[in-house]
Amino acid sequence: MPYLFGSIALAGLLIFSEYGIPAMLTVNTFVGELFAFMSGFLSASNAIVFSFLMFIIILVVGWFVFRKIPVTYFFSGKQSTHRHQTFKMRGWLKGISSAYVLLTFTLVVVVPFAALVIRAFSLTGDPKADGEIFSGFKYFLEGLEYGEQDFKTTLITAPLSAVLATIIALPIARMLAFTVKRIKYMLFVFVAMTFVIPATIFGIGVLMIYNLPMFDAIYDTPLIIVFTYVGMFTPIAVLILAAGMMRVGTREEFVARLHGVGNFTAYTDIFLPRIGFEFALAFLAVLVFSMAELGATALIMPPGSSPITTGLYIMMHYGNEERVSAIALMQIMLVFIPVIMFVNVRVLLKLARRNNG
C-alpha cells in the first residue's frame, strides 16, 4: 500500500511539474503561468516567490514520496536479484491484457507518430490544389534548412551536457551507494526529489543566478544551456550510476587493493568497467532528456542559440504544420539513433566476447 500511494503521489508531482505538453496545447497551468510571468518579465518577483513556495511544497511532498519508493533500484537494467515466478494466465485474460497493452501503446505512441508521418509526408494533401499527394522528403529538407542552427545547438549542447553530468554524477553516486545508512538515505531523498521540481522553476533559478554580472560571459552563450541541463539531469545520472554501483558492490575493488593494485588502478580497471553499462545508460538518459527539454530552455536560451525543442515550439505557433511535423520526426530520430546504437553496441560486445572465449 505505501508503494501504491507513493507511486500515485510521484505521478501527481510529475504531472504537476510538466510544462511542455500543456504549453503546446495552450492550456494554462501553474508552471505555465510562472513561465509567462518570467519570460514576459511581467512580475519576476512574483514568479520567484511562487517558485520558492512550490519548492517548499515539493520538498515536503517529495520527502514522503521518496522515503517510500526505492527509486535507485529501478535504474539499473541489470538487476537480477528479484526474479519472480510468472503467473500462468487464462486464455481470455491473456487476450484482454494484450488488448489493453496494445490499446495503450496505440494511443500513446502509434497515433501521435502516425499523425506526424501523415503531416510530414503530406499524405492527406489535395492533389488538385497541391498538385501532389505524396510530398516525399520536401518538408524534411525544408525543415533541415529552417532548423539547421537549432539542430546544431542541440547536437553540441546535449552531448556536452551528458558527458559533464555523467562525470559529475560519479562521485555523488559513489557517496549515495556506499556511505553510511543515514547520510545515504538523506542524499537519496534529496537527489530523487530534484526529479519533480518543475522545469520552469529550475529555469527561473538559473536565470536569477546567471543574471549576476560575474556570469555575463555565460549568460549570453550556449554555455548557459549546458549548465542548465547539467543541473537538471545530473540527479538522473546519479541514480542510474548508484544503482549500478550497488549492484557491483565494493568487494571486487577491495580484493584488487588487497592484492596490491593501486587505488586509482582499482577504480579505473576494476570498478569503472563493471559499471560501464550504467555509465553508458546515464550518458544516454541525460542526452535524451537534454534533447527533449523545453520548460527551462525556453526561459534561459540566449538570443540566436535555441535548441531544436524551442525551435519547434516557436515554429509550431508561426510555421508551416508539415514542416513542423517533419522536424519533429527528425528530432525523434535524433533521440532514437543513440538508443539504437547503445542496444546494438551491447549486442556486438557480447558477441565479440563470446567469440573471444
Binding site: 587493493r257 592484492h259 596490491g260
Partner: protein, 203 residues
C-alpha cells in the same frame, strides 16, 4: 615471531556477536587450518585480518605490524596478504590472464603460475566461462601472482567435487613444497586438509 597474531578480537553485527575474544597465532612457515561449524565466525575473522571489517576490540598483527584494531586500520594493499575469498570474488570483465597480470609484481611469473595451476589453456576465458573448480584455482592463482608471503584461504575446498578437492589439495601441497607462500585455510570441514596446525573453533 608469529606471521599472524590475533589478540582478543571481538566483532559483532548489531546484536549478534560473530567473534568473541578470539586469540590465535600462526607461525612463519606454518600451514594453519581453522575449523569450525557454519556461522562460527571464521569468515568474519578473516575479514578483520584482510581489513574488510574493523574489529570492535582487540588487535591483529601481520609480520609484527599492527594492521587492525578499533583505532588502526592499515589500507589493504599494505597488509601484504593474499586471499582466496569464500565466493571467489573474481573480476567478471577480465580474462584469466588479465586477472594475474593486473596484480603480478613480476609479469614473467604469470605464465608459470597459470601452468602450475593448469590454467594455461584457459587464459583467454572469462570467469563465467569457467567451472567451479577452475574459478577456485583462478582465485588461488591471483593470490599467488600478487607475490604475497601469507595466503588466507576461506573455504577453499567448499562446493567442489571430490576429484577437484584432491586436485586443489595437490596444488596447495605443491605450493607449500615450492615455498611460494604459506597458506592459512579457514574451513568448516576437515576433509584431509594437509595442514601443520589445526585449530578447532570454538576451541
Amino acid at each position: 615471531m608469529a606471521e599472524i597474531s590475533i589478540r582478543s578480537v571481538t566483532k559483532s553485527y548489531d546484536d549478534t556477536v560473530a567473534c568473541r575474544n578470539v586469540s590465535l597465532e600462526v607461525e612463519n612457515g606454518q600451514l594453519a587450518v581453522l575449523l569450525g561449524p557454519s556461522g562460527a565466525g571464521k569468515t568474519t575473522l578473516l575479514k578483520t585480518i584482510t581489513g574488510e571489517l574493523t574489529p570492535d576490540s582487540g588487535e591483529i598483527f601481520v609480520s609484527g605490524q599492527l594492521v587492525s584494531s578499533p583505532q588502526t586500520m592499515l589500507p589493504p594493499a599494505r597488509r601484504h596478504l593474499g586471499a582466496v575469498m569464500q565466493e571467489g570474488v573474481l573480476w567478471p570483465h577480465l580474462t584469466v590472464e588479465k586477472h594475474l597480470e593486473l596484480v603480478a609484481k613480476n609479469a614473467d611469473k604469470v605464465g608459470e603460475i597459470l601452468e602450475l595451476l593448469s590454467l594455461d589453456k584457459l587464459r583467454r576465458r572469462y570467469p563465467d566461462q569457467l567451472s567451479g573448480g577452475e574459478k577456485q584455482r583462478l582465485s588461488l592463482a591471483r593470490a599467488l601472482a600478487a607475490g604475497r608471503k601469507v595466503l588466507l584461504l576461506d573455504e577453499p575446498l567448499a562446493n567442489l567435487d571430490r576429484p577437484l578437492v584432491i586436485e586443489l589439495m595437490r596444488d596447495l601441497q605443491r605450493l607449500r613444497g615450492g615455498a611460494r607462500a604459506r597458506p592459512c585455510s579457514w574451513s568448516h570441514t576437515s576433509r584431509r586438509t594437509p595442514c601443520s596446525s589445526l585449530t578447532r573453533w570454538p576451541s
